[in-house]
Symmetry: D2
Subunit: 422 residues, 4 copies
């Protein structure tokens, strides 16, 4: 019996060649719930991808769904630019009470347009405006977005080449663990800053991810982050933490930098902040940095009110106490044990793993292996994507709300996929 | 009796100073339906702003709302990146059948991230990649967005200054009617292109709005657009029409360039494409330009499936026949007559108006007058914003679905506001 | 009898392909005196090129030669960086007494390195530093030099392409007579400056040549220059006159802008300032602009003391009274009459001429004609080069010290070359 | 008895504040011979500065002086652009026979304008043109010149700030010995190049000085240079050695890179190439890189024929055999012993020295000490300048033709100056 190929025709004939995920997962998805998607043929897939980190609370989370539909039914404001609305007020109050105040974070909140790259663009603009300098330091294998400002601080050469102009005003520095493990952290960066002859244009800011998701699940140590924060303070540079993928609980705590005990000057949030996969983003910053003029940065969809509704509901539901953080760390241990077992198998051929909370990477010595593992996993009903500059890392990003049983199921599939791709 | 000021406190204390619309419209909006918003005190406002052009079919349009809630209720995919989904297929098929095919437009469709500026960034990237040149020509008083790529081709000096870096690779040319009415169109631009000593870096593309909304409701003539398209063809530059605000029927036809009979190489759409105010954008281009590599441009929210659902419903409902275009042109005549009457009054003090379809501008000789008129209109229950480099133009952008009676009501309020701000 | 080709071998085998003049004038020059060069075969050439304007006082001018050799014989300082030397003092005093004071010009004098492009680089740096802005406006067909700062304000597309990077921070405006003769001067430029939505980055400065030598002998009218100076003043931009080729008496007065009665903020001089063809350049500016820190701009050969010696001798000899200016204007009339006669001949085929002082251009309708004329002139013993973006202009630049008889001789050769290239 | 201050008035009143050397050496120099200058009051100074490396054969070297005056007397071509002249041919032939052929160097020769920065600009242009990339890697504390192209690859923050625009397209890497002595050479650089996610724009070229003169007399080891050359070859980057200050025998061999046994792709020469302090520069490159179009880079004074005459004479006189190299190395040993003795004295307070050939640096722990030492040396009749980002290094750069006695005399003065500035 032969199976007809999925009916992808309009995607192939009408949609641009730029499409990518649909190539690795050649089916047409129809519905989703929690950690599972279903395609139009009724086949179910376990999701260890979670919308690239946008679905920390699972697909179509029922609590958020209820709040969203209620809001839509009562004709709440849908599109609000930066008008004051009851939904926005509710979100702001909840964010303050549930997130900022308990953590003693003094931030002002900016709605910079509902995508991550827009949040990064606003953060970079503000930093440059505050410091009066153009240069920004980013890190090797950073990913911050695809518009020109964000792309200039993104590491991937393939994505950078797409800019069509030389990307300037950004300088890469080595991320934690990047060199040989012998070179003192920040030796090079600090020397450049202290030396009036170094040739480094003094940066307005440093932008960093605490765990680099697209870059290969590279995990910065807490002490490295603290040393970076300290260097920024001593050298009069603003510290921007791009928490778009790693925030909203992905690493355990709501903000990924909490474990390190630092307070960045500027923080970007997006992906899971709406909780429901709806476009939304925030730029947070110390109040003394709030030197924006009214309307100096704007964007048509910066007031996506349905997203405010689900965002407030998500914060209320999951972050009013410390349960979510504990659960995520527990689930993370479950993942780590499974990865340890996989790596110890002969079939893994020297793979190693790394991660924090519920973001994990499994890196293979043979860079092509990761893609094969993901392809096999898809056949077996598990969504996994690769990351890293050579796509050499299998990235595990299940919803935070995944059950232990679902985790086990997915990890078993992964283990099998590794074995079956030798 | 005194009225207590609206309770704006969390907006003032927590939200960034960058907020703007909420300053001119100092109330807290709660619900909306069609052409009307209601604030939390139950006061109703007629909306001649329409989400800056994002709500062409009115607030919470009941047909789209039904489709949206049904989709949510059945747990359709919400967040889909660029996975193939049934909702996306349905949108693509509808867009092809209802929009592209009847107009014989050969475009491929790219989902570049759900905001207008992201669509513009992708258009600029593609043009530069195709032509292998960095430079892009834009027009005086253009507005294309706030991320660095888009901002570099935007005219407003205040917004440009926010970049924090010098904005380069863009050169402004005079928009239609910009100079004294005597200078032949494109005299300067064409001379620069033909002269090997002119100093103009040869542009990859020209980006233009057919009607400049933010720039002051500047309307390009059809013959000017045709001459521009012809110049682009002769000089090997791509023509990008940014139809984010003027597309989706704002000027009558679905695309604002249809009247001129031109076929741009690249078109950007956003704002009203989802029909419901949900973030969504498209970049359309001739198939021979589709040289993107998979994933060369991406974005987390480029697959906003609820927006695909409302977008398909909007196209089906409003664009399957030619009624919407006819209605918009009829409503436009109604607006024009009212503006003519206003301008003929003494109190208008030499104001003049311009527009097309349902986008109109009323410009005052005294630049401060427009803001006063808008402020007075707000007090009288009508939402209107200003535009133009000196905010000297009152901008009328009612929903396309506005009734003749609502139009009359709003135009009367405008007329009164003009009289009462002498 | 056949003539063996000149022995150019080492030029062809060892020197880079970048060489150019030696291709049009395929002989090996050996000696020179006044308006004549002699090649190694003893053949004499009349020189209407004058080192591209560097030899206004002729080759190896005997007065300057005497001063130079005396200085060398007595072991005067040759290389002095910016040390105080007796030769430099003598030059500065002479320049002040003979040039600046009689013209009531208040300038400070900077020695920026001994080439024209270095003078331009220093002028642009200073303007940007003073105004705190990056952008500079230049004009169509401008030529200011080949280092990256100067090249960015140079018009020629071929030279610009050599940069290897996109040239930014410069915007071209139409030079006098550039458009159709109907467009009011500065209509476009002034509109851009006054309109906060124009998209033009506010310029720090405008850089202009009063006569564009490389650009095709384009002569700005005095009233155009005055209007430009006025625009700069009103719009807070510095006016830089690049007088490298047109200064030192080329147009009659010592500075080419004297006729217009303007006082630029910054002036660059080079080429004929040393008088003897020795590398030297100056950057002059209003004293209030002298905000340089010590050593902020420097250069190894900025103290070329032999050049100071010949420069001072040239000023003393030729500029202590008004004779040189009168003589140049008289010689110019002689050229003009000859060009008028040439253009009236049938063989000139619609050529026209333009010029001022002793810089003249003869432009042919057929762009290839100018090169043919110059080639034929070379065969007939006259050095002439072409200019303009299509090399369509024969450029006449005889030494200012040329005798009426030499002028007649050269103009007759030119006339014959025109006739013989029909 | 009081001594009247030197008559510096016209320097102070008319010359720009940018002047620098004349501030540290407050006298007016008049004549010079060999290693000695004489001021207008007849006071003699021993010169350990040598025109910042432009006077390797001493001031007004009698052999070169004779050749120069003879050439001037016979009315040889003075100013020649890139016309073929007998003087240029003679230089080219001599350079080929005396320099290139004995070293088996295959270079083509370009005359890019007579200053070092112009040579660097041409080298950078060519590298970018050949490779089609914008980015160039330079090193910490590099100095390559003051025009915008060269300045972008220069390290000094004070000089960079003078640009008035953000300097881009250059990235600094650590020079030899820059870090802690533990980090493997090129660990960081090579990692960046190999990693497709590093964020480094792939460089067209690397530009390096073998000894950084302005940067503080930082001496690269031969093995470091070889490893760099190897890295460039493996990573498809051109290697540019800027030998402007260190070439022409300063380190012993004619080219400073000979000791390392490498053959750079591009070499820049200036300063001492004319031998007499006359402005001249060369850009040398492998013949396969010679893709210049005629006239694509040019410059008015690129044919400084008197400099060709002295340059050819210098090569004939000093480089026809190996004596000069041996002598320089012997003189260098003499310097080294003296510096060793100085550093061992208590009064030196932990100073240390470094150098090669006849370029040496004496660095003090107290950065202000070097300036004091130079000031005291001047009082004692010795010219010495500081270098390094904090001016913390006394730089010894005597003429190569200095006698052992003069060296002793100067080193004694230096030793005394160190003792007297405790």
């Amino acid at each position: 019996m032969t199976i007809a190929p999925p009916a992808l025709s309009v995607f192939e004939t009408l949609e641009s060649e730029v499409r990518s995920y649909c190539r690795g997962w050649p089916t047409v998805f129809d519905r989703a719930q929690g950690a599972r998607l279903t395609d139009e043929d009724g086949r179910s897939y376990l999701d260890f991808f979670a919308g690239a980190g946008s679905l920390n609370y699972g697909h179509n989370n029922p609590v958020l769904k209820r709040a969203l539909i209620d809001y839509l039914e009562r004709d709440g404001i849908t599109h609000g630019l930066d008008m004051a609305t009851t939904a926005k007020r509710s979100f702001l109050e909840t964010f303050q009470e549930v997130i900022l105040e308990p953590r003693a974070l003094p931030y002002k909140v900016m709605f910079p347009g509902p995508t991550g790259t827009n949040a990064v663009e606003s953060a970079l603009k503000l930093a440059r405006k505050v410091k009066g300098r153009e240069s920004v330091v980013s890190f090797t294998n950073a990913f911050h977005g695809m518009s020109l400002g964000s792309l200039a601080v993104t590491g991937n050469a393939f994505k950078r080449a797409g800019a069509g102009i030389p990307l300037v005003h950004g300088t890469p520095m080595p991320f934690d663990h990047y060199l040989d493990g012998q070179v003192p952290d920040f030796l090079w960066f600090e020397r450049l800053l202290e030396d009036q002859g170094s040739g480094l244009n003094k940066p307005a800011a440093v932008i960093v991810e605490t765990v680099q998701g697209e870059g290969g699940i590279n995990v910065a140590r807490a002490e490295w982050l603290r040393a970076l924060a300290d260097l920024c303070r001593r050298q009069d540079m603003l510290l921007i933490v791009d928490d778009i993928q790693m925030g909203c609980g992905r690493t355990g705590a709501f903000f990924s930098f909490e474990e390190a005990g630092i307070t960045p000057d500027i923080v970007t949030l997006s992906k899971s902040i709406s909780g429901y996969g709806l476009p939304m983003s925030l730029c947070l910053f110390r109040p003394e940095l709030d030197i924006w003029e009214p309307g100096e940065h704007n964007g048509t969809f910066r007031g996506n009110n349905p997203a405010f509704v689900t965002a407030a509901a998500a914060l209320d539901t999951y972050w009013a106490d410390g349960q979510m953080e504990k659960q995520t760390l527990a689930r993370g241990e479950q993942v780590e044990q499974a990865l340890l077992a996989i790596c110890e198998e002969n079939s893994a051929d020297g793979a190693h793993y790394r991660g924090r909370g519920l973001v994990w990477g499994l890196e293979f010595a043979d860079a092509t292996r990761a893609s094969k593992v993901c392809a096999r996993a898809f056949e077996l009903g598990l969504l996994l994507e690769t990351s890293g500059p050579a796509s050499q890392v299998v990235k595990l990003l299940p919803p935070l709300t995944v059950t232990p049983e679902e985790l086990d199921e997915g990890l078993s599939v992964l283990s099998r996929a590794v074995r079956e791709t030798v």
